[in-house]
Symmetry: C2
Subunit: 409 residues, 2 copies
């Protein structure tokens, strides 16, 4: 069995439970006799190149446990694209030198598609130069778009936040007899996994009237027709849209603006498809409107995380260490579901890297404006259980790490 | 002591705890031998005029208890402006006729400034025509702008939601080494009570860089200077603005748009001062930006309500009934704080109606771009304790009322 230091990094967009995976990996690694040191790279690959490592053995175990309930990336994140080493080996050589200096023999990267791609490339490079190092990926993404895993850590908590918030907004906008057309915008540029979770509010009696996903082509006229019919009957309409909805030609609905919202460099400003649609409803139908973007809380609302998600994220981190010390490398940890029970497996990184899992068609209704009950069967187990986050002084008590830097070698 | 039916209504914008006040009033009234019936008017005064009353004695006590943890106005709300009866007595005569038909001798209205004004006018009218009826107001508003009460039910929960969400967003945007200028927009057209609560996140180590309230005049150039200095030092800036911030001339900053955002009819589109400021930061300073509107969840996020607020709201409802059966009328219930303990009192409706409580100047720093610690002393007790909301199937289990209508007489 390999003996040496273990290095863990986080990458890509934060989630409510990416730190729970970190806790699972760190706490498991600290107990393993073959792992001489447990380091965290600040800001992912960038921290590797900068040699900014923190020493987890100097942290309080209580604070490490609190990471399970702490949102965002405690180690800091990065968006760093690694070229193939055949094209540009310089950065790989730099990484290798650092790994050698600190005798890093175990490397774990927590992230989404791009991070799994980085992981795969580093693993391949180490093999090509004969450097003995276990490299495994730990999945995370609220987007739920990683292949070969039933679902991804981060998704269940985002769903629980969205479904709860949609329920509360539903009750709020139901208070007035004559209401508005309320359009809520949900994250997901290419896939509707997150937007679909608004459907969960139906089990609470708070079903949205219309739900539009990027997977179905969006027709403005049909949308306005649907809104008109519902408004005339109920005097209020509750619409959910994915930020990346597109028309039949593949153009983003976000571009259907009446005003010019390009920035000074001519780039289209991000966000706001709900506002764009509100504008069309108001101008064409004359109904009162309100646009709501759920925005960042979708990925960082740890106070409403799913305990199932927290525990699964933890187990993904733990499993990554457990398989690593069995000499299993080049893998991403997966979550498998069978007959209602969950187990953790592995899939080779090259299988999963840079691939995208799409919503099954059976989760979307024929008209492309709502979600089916089949989806509820899939998603409900993922939002079960509430976080054990403690409150102090009325606010959540998140982990406070000392982040003591390892002296540079 | 008066014997007859009791009627309760809700009015104005919903909050996370307005139903807790309803529960307090209903459960207390149901136990009182002098109160023959306990009715709820659907959609406030409109429900009185339409005679759409529900009979609370037909509801399950368990569901009535769950109202404590259920957001929005369970009875439905209304925005209904009552003229003085000296000017227009028709609507008052209609109300009186309905009250006589159902022998309503106790009337309670849960709402903000405008609702207290309606309450006062109805009470005056009843007195002027010699109709024996107790009329009391129960305060609610997330805006905290009612006079003669230390704070208002609904405010503490909104603060707890804002402070928690701001903490989570702070951690999220701290993940990247080089970040953006993130501008969060908070409700409050005229008063900064809600915006100020973002400061609470400082006790969690998540202090925003800049906080702007409608109370201080906003200077775009100074703002851009502040943002530039902070960004150059930290590579990210976290700004909180109240939606109603204005410049020295009193013009809304919302109007400082670079593009023409009038709709086809020439009306200014509502919302989005954070977006307007982001646009200026991007165009003038060239920094990456993100605008976030906290929007409706500020007033309906019952899942994050303050238990102190829930219990105080309940007590306000309960106290309204208790003083009523002692023949005390024409009052609004107040919350008083002395030496850390809370008690409930009353104030004549004419004192409080249509008045607005402003933020004390000592809560705002000299430069007008942050909040003082003095404010923390005031607000921290209001956010203590967590809701006892139960979850079912992974989602909050809100009250489900049967809402059986009373047959029209």
């Amino acid at each position: 069995m390999l003996s040496g230091a273990c290095l863990i990094g986080q990458s890509g967009g934060p989630t409510a439970v990416i730190n729970s995976s970190l806790a699972g990996a760190v706490i498991t690694a600290l107990k393993n006799p073959n792992i001489t040191n447990v380091y965290g790279a600040l800001h992912g690959i960038q921290g590797v190149l900068d040699e900014t490592f923190i020493d987890f053995s100097l942290e309080d175990m209580n604070e490490l446990e609190l990471l399970k309930y702490t949102p965002s990336s405690a180690l800091g994140s990065v968006r760093f694209f690694l070229d193939d080493f055949e094209k540009n080996s310089k950065v790989y050589e730099d990484i290798l030198n650092v790994f050698k200096k600190y005798n890093i023999r175990y490397f774990f990267y927590i992230g989404g598609n791009d991070s799994m791609d980085s992981c795969m490339k580093i693993n391949k490079y180490f093999k090509s130069v004969g450097y003995d190092c276990i490299v495994n990926g730990i999945p995370k993404t609220i987007d739920n778009d990683l292949c070969f895993t039933d679902h991804t850590p981060g998704y269940g908590s985002a769903c629980k936040y969205i479904a709860t918030t949609i329920s509360e907004i539903y009750l709020d906008i139901s208070a007035y007899k004559k209401g508005r057309v309320t359009i809520v915008e949900i994250m997901g540029r290419d896939a509707g996994w997150l937007t679909a979770s608004s459907k969960i509010a139906s089990i609470n009696g708070c079903n949205p009237d219309l739900i539009y996903l990027p997977e179905s082509s969006f027709c403005l006229d049909e949308f306005l027709d649907d809104v008109k019919n519902i408004y005339n009957e109920k005097k209020k309409v509750f619409v959910i849209v994915g930020e990346g909805i597109r028309d039949a030609k593949g153009d983003y609905i976000l571009n259907y603006r009446n005003y010019n919202n390009n920035d000074t460099f001519g780039h289209l400003q991000l966000g706001g498809v709900a506002s764009v649609l509100c504008e069309h409803v108001q101008n064409t139908l004359g109904f009162p409107v309100r646009a709501i973007e759920l925005n960042l809380p979708q990925r960082c609302a740890a106070h409403l995380a799913s305990n199932t998600d927290i525990e699964e994220a933890y187990m993904c981190g733990k499993t990554a260490i457990e398989v690593a010390v069995k000499n299993i490398t080049g893998q991403m940890i997966t979550i498998e579901r069978e007959n209602g029970s969950t187990k953790f497996g592995t899939v080779p990184l090259e299988e999963v890297a840079a691939k995208v899992k799409e919503m099954p068609a059976e989760f979307i209704n024929a008209k492309g404006n709502h979600i089916t009950d089949k989806y509820l069967e899939y998603v409900l187990p993922l939002i079960q259980g509430e976080t054990k986050l403690r409150y102090e002084n009325g606010l959540p008590r998140f982990a406070r790490l000392k982040k003591i830097l390892v002296s540079k070698k």
